[in-house]
């Protein structure tokens, strides 16, 4: 709201709280990126709200010097909804994880997307429950051995992209804590989007699920097994830019035919779904971004449509009578 003071730096957004994440945790990179992005955007501390649920990721609000709430398990998105609806001028960020956001908070997640309320939902996805020390989550891989699945899970994981797109997401992006530059680009896009922005951030849990994303993002693998999405650009990737994503019959394929590469289109829902289904290569970037009616501003318009009425008028409306 105030713009008279100078732009704040990333450091200005730090708090005096000791950070309690494990050394090597991907959360540090996310925290630094978020602070950097707030600075880049020229945000004032008082206009930003972080609301989290429960889990390692949900400690996040304590470490950013804005308004913040560390709430209860699974409810960050529901609380953020109320905060945003009451004051649409605020920049509201829900911080959640794969367990908090997609298991116990799954219902709030899909309904926020259906309403398209202008908040940013950051899902720190490490495919494991970290704070409770290593149980499988809704994004753990089928067959993964964890403390509660010693024989391997028998549950198919959610793909957060498919889930979000199915629920009507107007913005879905996937990025990784291991690439802060890309992460920051995506966070800027998410904040710029008017509607619910879901950012799934692959975040490595060094203690309970180390190297979970190695297959796609490991040093040796990332060039050949991840593709960066850019709207209007061909989906070409590989060490020597020698691979391309192609249209198949009902799916996307990977081949070396560069000139027939799929051109990325953030507004093509079918393409977004098919990208989410690619198995050998992981797309990173904005899967979908479309402009649709936004909930909080619609509600605000309804409230501000006419001049404010007085309750006394209401009490005297309709059928009344006098007793003398």
């Amino acid at each position: 709201m105030q713009s008279n003071s100078e732009k704040l730096s990333a450091k200005d957004f730090a708090t005096d709280q000791a950070i309690r994440w494990c050394p090597g945790c991907g959360d540090y990179a996310i925290l630094n990126s978020v602070k950097k992005v707030l600075s880049t955007l020229g945000k004032r501390k008082e206009d930003v709200v972080f609301i989290s649920g429960i889990g390692c990721s949900s400690r996040f609000p304590y470490y950013v010097d804005t308004y913040g709430m560390h709430s209860i398990h699974g409810r960050a998105v529901a609380i953020a909804t109320g905060t945003k609806v009451h004051n649409p001028l605020l920049s509201v960020w829900a911080i959640t994880g794969d367990g908090d956001g997609l298991a116990i908070g799954g219902n709030h997640f899909i309904h926020a997307l259906r309403r398209n309320i202008n908040i940013n939902i950051l899902i720190f996805n490490n495919e494991i429950y970290g704070l409770t020390k290593g149980q499988y989550s809704p994004t753990s891989q089928l067959g993964q051995r964890t403390k509660t699945s010693p024989l391997g899970t028998i549950e198919k994981p959610f793909d957060p992209a498919m889930l979000a797109l199915g629920a009507g997401a107007t913005f879905f992006a996937r990025t990784t804590a291991s690439d802060p530059k890309h992460l920051q680009e995506i966070l800027l896009r998410a904040e710029a989007h008017c509607g619910t922005s879901v950012v799934e951030i692959y975040q490595n849990c060094v203690i309970f699920n180390d190297e979970a994303f190695e297959q796609f993002l490991g040093k040796e693998n990332r060039d050949d097994h991840s593709v960066v999405l850019q709207h209007g650009k061909p989906l070409v990737f590989g060490k020597g830019l020698d691979k391309a994503v192609q249209w198949g019959h009902h799916e996307l394929l990977v081949s070396t035919a560069l000139d027939t590469a799929v051109i990325h289109d953030e507004q093509n829902l079918s393409l977004s779904f098919l990208l989410a289904r690619l198995e050998t290569v992981k797309p990173l970037g904005v899967y979908r971004c479309v402009q649709e009616a936004e909930y909080a501003s619609n509600m605000d318009d309804g409230v501000k449509k006419e001049s404010r009425k007085q309750v006394s008028e209401l009490l005297h409306s309709g059928s009344t009578w006098e007793i003398e």
Binding site: E46, A78, V303, V311, I323
Partner: protein, 615 residues
């Protein structure tokens, strides 16, 4: 010749699709407009359209009108309107001996009796009816005939039969049919056929009354001596909605309601959803949990935040309610109680959620608890719930029940320039040096600093926090201190509420303590015994946590305390634990309100025991 009555109880009863709720509402609205005091009791099945003619599809609307003040919908109806055999079968046992029954003859055919589960197939074969006065009216067929010339399908015409029945009742009880005619014109504006049909049915019923006048009794009920003022009808759910809106206006805040539809609380959400023009934001959430969480989020950003529900919904909200206790944010929770446990009796009344509200959360978690007593005090109590929540930065639960929610009575409209016009609250302003979110004032209330306020940014959460800094703290001594501080903060609310009033003498033999929707019946029973010279007084509590400061001394002034409740003794446990007074309880859990007569019997019995003990 008209007979003048001081009061009368009429029960409209028919199939759940017969429009009995509407008929009863029209009858009571007209009576209120004619100057009577009234109390109503809608009693309907939870099925929207149960199989027609079946006993579980019977919908009833009881209205008590009087030339004096009326506090309850009454025990035993003097008049029953029975639209079909099922209605007769279900309601007959409730009637006063010698009551009048208006029978829709057309529905009492072989198939009607069969659907109702009667083994007989004629009214003559029902022996008990000898004790009642029957008025036979061919309501269905006469309605069809009266509407012959109107261009409507037969099904729609038959649906007008409730207005025929209403017209007949208007004649018998000397009501002015013009008020209902005006209502019909407004309701069906632009649909001439429906306007004409319903008015024709109403008039036909009225004229049928004139035709049979010689063979029936006609009554009049003079105006009641009510306090001067402008009046309107109000039901409990509407009163709560409006009271909350006024609290928002009086505090200068916008109202936010997060809610999920649940019987019998849904009407509050529906009512508030009409009022965006008053700054009300209604959020119909995906579930009960999201509803309260969104309210907490809105409260964090500076709204007067409310969530409305019934017992099962409150169970789901309990974790989030605890968060609000811990965050120390204002939040109003409305619980319109219904029969429990579990899904229980959704459309019936009970007051069995008191202990849930007091203790149904993990940890030491005190909340302010208030209870409405009647439709006419819901506006005041909702306002009061908001006031206390805002001034003490802590959640308030306001208890209502199905009986208050759906019942209606004439309500003197308060002058909002004089009453309910200001709730002083304190939002933290920018520039406070070294702001600490849990830095308390003398009432132990923390500041409310809302996002957007420069320099006040802070983090709060469900984890225990340090008394001084508000940072997360796992310190053992600090934890105990914080538990005690939150408890003390709520107990200090006692200095911000009125002293308890007593109806009757402030000392004596028997003190009856009641709360919630039983007020009308308990009060009436106590008054009758007082008139007979008994030493009995009434304390009806609207502030349940904390109790008014003078409650303890009052209790000590009486030999015996008796607590009638529509549960198995919940307030009883709390009072006995707090005041060690060996109070006794009187309980009923049938999904129905107390009758005055059963209370009189219970109170008389207790008075005798006190007398006996004295000797």
């Amino acid at each position: 010749m008209k007979t003048t009555l001081e009061h009368i109880i009429i029960l409209f009863s028919g199939d759940s699709g017969d429009g009995m709720q509407l008929t009863g509402t029209q009858f009571s609205d007209t009576s209120a407009r004619m100057g009577n005091d009234i109390a109503t009791f809608p009693d309907y099945p939870s099925e929207i359209r149960a199989p027609s003619g079946s006993v579980f599809g019977v919908s009833g609307f009881q209205v008590h009108i009087g030339a004096r003040e009326i506090y309850t919908p009454g025990d035993q109806p003097d008049v029953l309107v029975a639209m079909n055999p099922a209605a007769l079968k279900v309601k007959l046992p409730l009637l006063k001996k010698g009551a009048t029954i208006i029978i829709n003859d057309d529905a009492f055919d072989r198939s009607g009796f069969k659907k109702a589960g009667y083994e007989v197939s004629s009214l003559e074969a029902i022996g008990e009816l000898k004790n009642f006065k029957l008025i036979h009216a061919p309501i269905t067929s006469q309605t069809e005939r009266a509407l012959e010339a109107i261009d409507l399908d037969n099904k729609s015409k038959r649906r007008c039969k409730n207005f025929y029945a209403l017209g007949l009742c208007y004649f018998i009880f000397s009501r002015d049919p013009n008020l209902t005619k005006a209502w019909i014109r407004e309701k069906f504006e632009g649909k001439d056929a429906l306007v004409n049909a319903n008015i024709a049915a109403l008039e036909a019923g009225y004229h049928f009354g004139e035709t049979i006048e010689a063979s029936i009794s006609i009554y009049q009920i003079p105006e009641a001596p009510l306090e001067k003022g402008t009046y309107r009808q109000i039901n409990g759910n509407t009163g709560i909605a409006w009271g909350l809106m006024q609290a928002a206006e009086a505090s200068g805040l916008d109202l936010f309601i997060g809610s999920y539809p649940i019987t019998p609380a849904t009407d509050i959400l529906q009512e508030l959803s009409k009022h965006a023009g008053f700054g009300v934001r209604t959020f119909q959430a995906e579930d009960e949990i999201a509803a309260i969480c969104a309210a907490i989020g809105a409260s964090f950003s500076g709204a007067l935040a409310v969530t409305t529900t019934s017992g099962p919904g409150l169970a789901l909200k309990s974790e989030a309610l605890n968060l609000a206790v811990m965050l120390e944010l204002p939040l109003v929770v409305i619980n319109v109680q219904r029969g429990g446990p579990s899904t229980g009796l959704p459309t019936k009344t009970e007051q069995a959620d008191l202990l849930q509200v007091f203790y149904g959360r993990n940890g030491e978690s005190p909340v302010i608890v208030l209870a409405a007593s009647r439709p006419g005090d819901t506006f005041a109590m909702a306002f009061e719930a908001a006031r206390l929540s805002l001034q003490h930065m802590t959640p308030v639960v306001l208890l209502s029940d199905g009986f208050i929610a759906n019942g209606s009575e004439p309500w003197r409209i308060p002058d909002l320039r004089e009453e309910y016009h200001h709730i002083p609250i304190h939002l933290a302003q920018a520039s406070e040096e070294d702001f600490k979110p849990y830095n308390r004032n003398l009432q132990l209330v923390r500041p409310w600093a809302i996002p957007g306020t420069e320099g006040m940014q802070h983090r709060i959460g469900g984890l225990e926090k340090d008394f001084e800094t508000g940072d997360v703290s796992y310190d053992p001594e600090n934890q105990e201190k914080m538990v005690e501080v939150r408890a003390k903060k709520v107990s200090m609310v006692a200095s911000n509420i009125p002293e308890q009033q007593v109806e009757g003498k402030t000392h004596g033999q028997l003190l009856v303590i009641s709360w919630g929707g039983t007020y009308g019946a308990v009060r009436t029973a106590v008054k009758r015994l007082q008139v007979q010279g008994h030493e009995i007084s009434l304390v009806h509590l609207t502030y349940l946590n904390p109790f008014p400061k003078n409650l303890g001394p009052l209790i000590a002034n009486f030999k015996q305390v008796l607590i009638p409740e529509l549960n198995k003794g919940q307030l009883l446990r709390i009072i006995n634990a707090q005041f060690h007074c060996e109070a006794k309880g009187y309980h009923k859990v049938q999904g129905l309100p107390f009758t005055i007569s059963e209370l009189i019997t219970a109170f008389e019995k207790e008075l005798k025991l006190v007398e006996y003990a004295k000797q």
